[in-house]
C-alpha cells in the first residue's frame, strides 16, 4: 500500500508539472493560480430585455453619433475611442453590465470586456444582436 500511495503521489506531481509547463510553453490564457473569470455570456434579445427590466446597465459601444440618434433606453455611451477614459467609472463593480454595439458583425465586445475586466467589472453580458436586433424586435 505504501508503494502504491508513493507511486500515486509521483504520478500526481508529474501530471501537475506537465500541466503547468505545457500551459506556460503554449502561452494559453489560463492562469492556474488566479481565480476563474467566466467569459461574457451571450444573451438572446428576450434575455436582454429581461435584464433591462431587472436593472442591468447597458453599455452602447457604437460611435457617439450613432448613440445620439437612438439607443437602448438608459444605455451609457461607451464608444471604443473613449475606452481609455473609463466612462463607466461611476457604475458599481457589482452591477450587471450588458454590452452591445451595432449588430452581429461588430467585434467591439471583446475589447470593451477586456478593459472592463481590467477595471474589476466581472458581471459582463453581451447582446450580440446589438442595436439592429433590439430596434427591429418589438
Amino acid at each position: 500500500v505504501k508503494d502504491t500511495l508513493l507511486g500515486a503521489w509521483a504520478l500526481t506531481v508529474l501530471a501537475l508539472a506537465l500541466a503547468l509547463v505545457t500551459n506556460h510553453v503554449r502561452g494559453l490564457p489560463v492562469r492556474p493560480f488566479q481565480a476563474f473569470r467566466p467569459q461574457p455570456r451571450y444573451l438572446t434579445l428576450a434575455e436582454a430585455r429581461s435584464w433591462q427590466q431587472s436593472g442591468a446597465a447597458f453599455l452602447d459601444l457604437r460611435p457617439a453619433e450613432d448613440y445620439r440618434q437612438a439607443h437602448v433606453p438608459g444605455a451609457l455611451s461607451v464608444p471604443l475611442d473613449r475606452l481609455a477614459q473609463r466612462p463607466w467609472s461611476n457604475l458599481s463593480r457589482q452591477q450587471v453590465l450588458v454590452l452591445y454595439c451595432a449588430g452581429r458583425d461588430c467585434g467591439a465586445h471583446a475589447l470593451a470586456a477586456q478593459a472592463l475586466e481590467a477595471d474589476g467589472y466581472h458581471r459582463l453580458l453581451v447582446m450580440p444582436d446589438g442595436w439592429k436586433g433590439w430596434s427591429q424586435t418589438p
Binding site: L5, G7, A8, L11, A15, A19, P32, Q34, F36
Partner: protein, 155 residues
Amino acid sequence: VRELARLALAGVFLAASLPKVAEPAAFAQTVANYRLLPDAAVTLTALALPWLELVAGVALLLGLFSDSAALLLALVAAGLAAAVGTAQARGLTIHCGCFGAGGDTLVPWPGLALDLVLLALALYSWRAGPGRWSLDGWLASIESSPPRSSSRSPR
C-alpha cells in the same frame, strides 16, 4: 480479464483527457458550471485534472505503476460521479464535459452510470494488479527469475 479491464480503463481516460488538455480554458468554464469549487480553485483544477487523467491513463496502458494509476483513476471517477450526481440533484442544466467542452446537455443516468462503471473498473484493476502483459509484470518476472550462473568458474 484484468488486462482487458486495465486497457479499457486506460482507453476511456485517454480519450476523455485529450480534448480537455487541448482546450483548458473551455474546460475551466465546464468545471465552473458545476458550481462545486471556489473560483480560486477552478483554473488549477481544470488545468491539472486532464493531465492527471492522461498521465494515469498512459501509465495504465503501459502497465507501469499500474496500482497507483488505478487508484488515482478510482479517485477521479468517484469525484466525477459525485459531481455529476450532485449537479443533477441541484437541478443544474449544464454540459457534462466528460469528454471535453460542449457535447450534449448533462444526462443524469448515463453520465453517472459511466462514472460508476469506471470507478468499478479502476477498483478492480487496483485490486487485481496489472497482469502478466504489463511493464510491471515484466519487471516482476525479471526480479523473481533466478540469477544466471556465470560460465566462468572462479580460479
